[in-house]
Assembly symmetry: C2
Amino acid sequence: MSNETVVTAAMLAIGDELLSGRTKDKNIGHLADMLTISGIDLKEVRIVADEEDAIVEALNALRGKHDYVFTSGGIGPTHDDITADAVSKAFGVPCEHDADAMALLAEMYKRREMEFTEARQRMARMPRGAAHIANPVSTAPGFIIGNVYVMAGVPQVFQAMVDNVLPTLKVGTPVVSLAIACPYGEGEIGTPLTAIQKAHPETSIGSYPRYVGQKFSTEIVVRGRSQAVIEAAGADVRAMIEDIGRRKDIAENHSADA
Amino acid sequence: MSNETVVTAAMLAIGDELLSGRTKDKNIGHLADMLTISGIDLKEVRIVADEEDAIVEALNALRGKHDYVFTSGGIGPTHDDITADAVSKAFGVPCEHDADAMALLAEMYKRREMEFTEARQRMARMPRGAAHIANPVSTAPGFIIGNVYVMAGVPQVFQAMVDNVLPTLKVGTPVVSLAIACPYGEGEIGTPLTAIQKAHPETSIGSYPRYVGQKFSTEIVVRGRSQAVIEAAGADVRAMIEDIGRRKDIAENHSADA
């Protein structure tokens, strides 16, 4: 009945430091926000260590299932930065120093009067045939091969690369959402909310508990791909909240009478 | 040569709100910290939506590969809380109201003079034969089936459940780490650090760039399963830093002479 289009994505965050707890990831939430706004559904995220087999396996699982895969981490100059090698292996192409990336980096280090060391040259390595993702923060580019977008792990650089990439992607009908504050806890709204979800199958209704001042309340979020469908479900949610309030008032008046 | 033992784990974080960006996950980093301290290696994390097939597929992939799998999210009272059903399906057992959990919740709601609604009763559902994980914050228990530990998504509850679970787990030789502040950027240390990593294969050496006040520096973290191996590699890292400093001094003196 609808002509909405759905574009899906996965993210692969790479780095021992995310799994040891040393670094608390900030990129997943940022990408989730940006994709949601853009009309791309983030369907799955994986975090793996700096281990070639783990990266190759995860990447090959994800890139066949989704329109886009975005990676973060492992493209710096040190021995533990093995993402370029792993992505090349996943695609079965050689990983080599890209001429344009070498030129960009050589120019930058010359300007800064710094030596273009062998380690720094590692940052120019990418799968043969990859396209660049510009890095306005620290020059060393990310890269694109097939439907895989390989970006840095440092949040400032990751975010700048995401900004450069987003306008080039195909997008679907964006998911719009409606948040409704509900003064009752999930235990009180669960049953009527299930009925509302069933009556509005084109929406996805989530409820998120809050516990403030010894009292439970809920934020109910209705998501869908048109304003009309979320407003229709939202009206039922508001009616449910009013109905619970009315029944509570009657119950309280009854006990006041007793 | 060593009698170290390795225990591995994976985490599965469940919830549409993590993938839409509405909620920024706090549980992954917390679990990573706690497992690292305890001597359990977190090897992989996945985040999936509140979709039964996605949960079942991820859970079955992870539980065969690791000693433990920890999940977060989807065990509340509303229709979008489907983790108990999905875990039951993954294990091929019925999902049913657990008698002990029903008794716990009934008692708690009676004490609080609240109705034990059908929605609240959902929180007592778990795979047949599962054991409880106590929830000191809001009563509704998590549960254990096989090597899978199913916990709440609300961070306070998740953390309390992790605290209850950790003392019951088998653990490996903990990874110890040594952090060394290095005043030079990754591009300068990359090549010598690679040589140090090769000379100390029992350690895992990570380097994490910092960019403060227009100047790059690095934190070098040496990880290993004994103090002796990380100290040996750490000594080489410190010698490398001194060596770079000496060469820089000579270079600066030369240019001052010129």
